[in-house]
Each structure stands twice: as C-alpha cells, then as structure tokens.
Symmetry: C7
Subunit: 80 residues, 7 copies
C-alpha cells in the first residue's frame, strides 16, 4: 500500500483523447473519444455513437454529456 494511489477522477483525466464507452443511468451508451472531463464527470466526446439497448441509434460530431447521468466510463486501451 506504499505505492501512489491515483484517484478515480485523476484516472479519467489521464484517459483524455482515448476512446471510452459511457453508460448512462437510462441505459443509453455513448462510444467516442473523450476530449475533456471535469470533476462532476461532465465530459465532451467527439466522433461519438449512441447505442440504445445495444443498437446504434445516432451519431454525434461533438456532444457534451452532463455528468450526473453517468453510470460508468469504460476506458479503452487503444489511443485515438
């Protein structure tokens, strides 16, 4: 337990410009490149796809998601 522990919001900051999958409470899911994020988990995605119950339902060039709707953010391992 002597290693430096990175807090979850810092980890999100470090994931900027990565592909992420954002699940909302309403089960909508957004996949895109997270270009910024703040401590409320408000974030902007670019080149995003919306999935509704697993089916592609819309495309968004630039979309700002309000953080209080977020259930989780999955960080993809591949850089943009």
């Amino acid at each position: 337990m002597t290693q430096t522990v990175k807090k979850p919001l810092s980890q999100l900051q470090r994931a900027l410009n990565r592909s992420v999958t954002v699940r909302l409470k309403s089960n909508l899911e957004y996949r895109g490149v997270m270009v910024n994020v703040d401590p409320h988990m408000n974030m902007m995605l670019i080149d995003a796809q919306e999935y509704n119950a697993g089916a592609l339902s819309a495309n968004y060039g630039r979309v700002v998601i309000r953080g209080n709707n977020v259930l989780f953010v999955k960080i993809e391992e591949t850089l943009k």
Copy 2:
C-alpha cells in the same frame, strides 16, 4: 497531453450562438440556437423546436431550460 485542455463547460460557452440539440432525461429534445448557458447547464434557446419521441411537438421563440434536466447537448457545426 501537453496541449491546453478545454473543460466541457468552457466548450459549451464557446458554442454560444450555434445551433444545438438538447436531449432531456425525459427523452424530450429541443433544437435551437443556444444564446446563453451557465455552469449548471441552465440555458436559453431561441427559435427552438421541441421533439417528443422524434416528432415535432411545439415551437418556442425563447425558452429557458433548467440544467438539471439535461442529458446531453449536441453542438451543430454550422453557425447561426
């Protein structure tokens, strides 16, 4: 990661006078010109259309949306 990262709310401020699509938690959607916005995502749209489940349901000359209802804001690439 050395570039200046713009926070999501600053990005919304920079999108003033652009056309936006605002999806609410209740699935209502508003499309109009965002003439102002604050850090809670309270915002005023002008010349706005309301869509309910994809169908045009109302027109609003000037409408103030309370930010806590917002799911996301899609920024259109074309200026007003």
Copy 3:
C-alpha cells in the same frame, strides 16, 4: 463573441411581469404572469392556469412554484 452575454437566470429576471408558460417534470404546465423568480427558479405566478396533458385543470390567483420541479420556462413576447 465580443457582445455581452446575458446569463439564463438574468434573462428570466428581465422577463418579470411577462406571461410565461412553465412546464414541470411531471408534464403539468402553468401559464401566468411571472411576478418574481429566484436563482433556484422558485417563482410566483399570478392569474395562472394549470394544464394537465393539454387540458385546463385549475386556476390560481397566486401560486409559488418550487424551482426544482421546473423543466423549462417559455417567455411569451407580449407584456402583461
């Protein structure tokens, strides 16, 4: 972007004594003259009508609406 940007809550303040339509999260709608409003969007309407699913359901001489229920405020262009 050099013009003075009025914030949404200031815009509501400037709309005092105008007719407004207030939609609540529960789909109730109130139409009346907004005689005051605070930063939480608590507001008092006078000479208000309540519409439930589009049908007139009640009349209120003076009613104070708690702001956290508000979905949006539509500002009518005609003065009282």
Copy 4:
C-alpha cells in the same frame, strides 16, 4: 422594472397565517393555515386536510411538511 421585486420565498413569508393549498410531487394535496415556512419550503400547517386524487383522505391538527416534496403553494386570498 423600477418597482421593488419581492422574491418568491419572501412572498411565502408574507402569506403566513393565510390558508394555502400545498401540492406535493406525489399528487397529494394539503389545505390548511401555513403558520411558518423556511427557505427550503419546509412548513407547518394547522387544521389541515389531505386530499388524495381530489378526495378528502385525512385531517391533521399540526403537520410539518418537508419542503423538498413540494410542487407548488397556492395562496388563498382570505385571511385565517
């Protein structure tokens, strides 16, 4: 716009000892004399009746309503 604007919560304070109708988010309605109220819209009513879907469902000598449940407060024009 040069007149003094009374804020909505001040207006509630000025309505103390008047009859009010308080609608809650759950559609319950309470009619009684509002003997005190605070900025959260917590309030005490005396000699109150509860209406459920328009039908009288209970009587309360003294009842404290938690403000966050309040949808609106209608101020009756007659003093106690």
Copy 5:
C-alpha cells in the same frame, strides 16, 4: 405579523417526546415517540409501529429514520 414566528424545524424540536406519525415518500408510515430530530429531519423514534398501506406491518423498539425520505411529520397533541 409582529408575533414571533417559530420556524418549522424549531417546531419539530419543541415536539420532542411527543407521539408523531411520520409518512415516508414510499407511503410507509411510522407511529412512535420522537426522542430526537436534526435539521435534515433525521430522527429517532421509540416504541414505533410501521404501517404499510394502512396495515400494521412491524414493531420497532428504537429506529433511526433518514430524513430525506420524510414526506411529513404529524404531531399528536398528547404527551408520551
């Protein structure tokens, strides 16, 4: 309006050791002696009965209710 107005939370404090009926948002109701209460309406009841849809469903010797679930507190006029 020159009389001293007691605020709703002070009125609850003055009702300590009285019998109360506490209705929760979920329609559960608790009847017991309120031995303490704080400004969030967190409270401890002793010798409490739980009513679900009007039917007695449980007994509690000592129970702490989290205030944010409270719809209203009815103060009974009889001391413990």
Copy 6:
C-alpha cells in the same frame, strides 16, 4: 425538556458493535453488526445477511452501504 437531547446521528454512533437491521429504499434489508457509520449514514456491517422481500438472499462478511440509500436503521437491543 431540560434533559440532554441526543441527536439521531449520535445515537447511531452509540449503537456501534450492536446488531442492526438496515432497510434500503429499494426494500432490500441488511442485518448485521454495525462496526462504523458516518454522518451520511454510510456504514460498514460485518456478518451481514441480505433479505429481499423477507427472504434471505445473500451473506456478506464485510459490506459498506452507501448512506443515501438508507430508509431506516433499527437498533437491536442485544450486544454483539
């Protein structure tokens, strides 16, 4: 009213190491020994059982419950 009134959260602190029953808003119920609790009613239970609609559904050696889900905490009179 001259006796020292213990606040509800202090009463929970005094109940550490006692058996408690914790009802959540979702009607899940947890019975175990409350080994710590904070002012948000976040708490850790050890040797806990989960009951769903009255039926035992799981066992937990150590579980941290997030306080905002809590409906009430019943304090059992027997020490661990």
Copy 7:
C-alpha cells in the same frame, strides 16, 4: 467503545487492491479489483465483470463507476 473506530470510507481505502463486488441501484453488479476510490465512492475497477440479474453480461479492463449509483461495496477477503 474506547477502541479506535475506523470510518466506512477509510475502510474502503484500506480495501484497495482487493477484490470487491459493487452493487448499483439499478441491480447491476460489478466484480473486480478496486484500485482507487474517493469520498463520493467514485472508484476504478480493473479486470471487472458485469452481472445483470446474476448473469455475466460484460467484461471491462478498466472502468470508472460514478459513486452516486452505488448501493453497497462488498469486500472480498482474498487479496488480488
């Protein structure tokens, strides 16, 4: 009561690098290694599985869960 009482959030901090099961309000469940957590219960899990109504529904290499969705965190007794 003279022993040092560890608060629930400190206990979560002490459980870093352990396997945990995180139940959300929506009944989704995540099992993985909790590599960090903050006072809102925002946390990052690695090597996580998602269970929906008890059935494995997805795998996540790195996922940040927003704390306000958390119902409870079960701490497994085995180190990673």
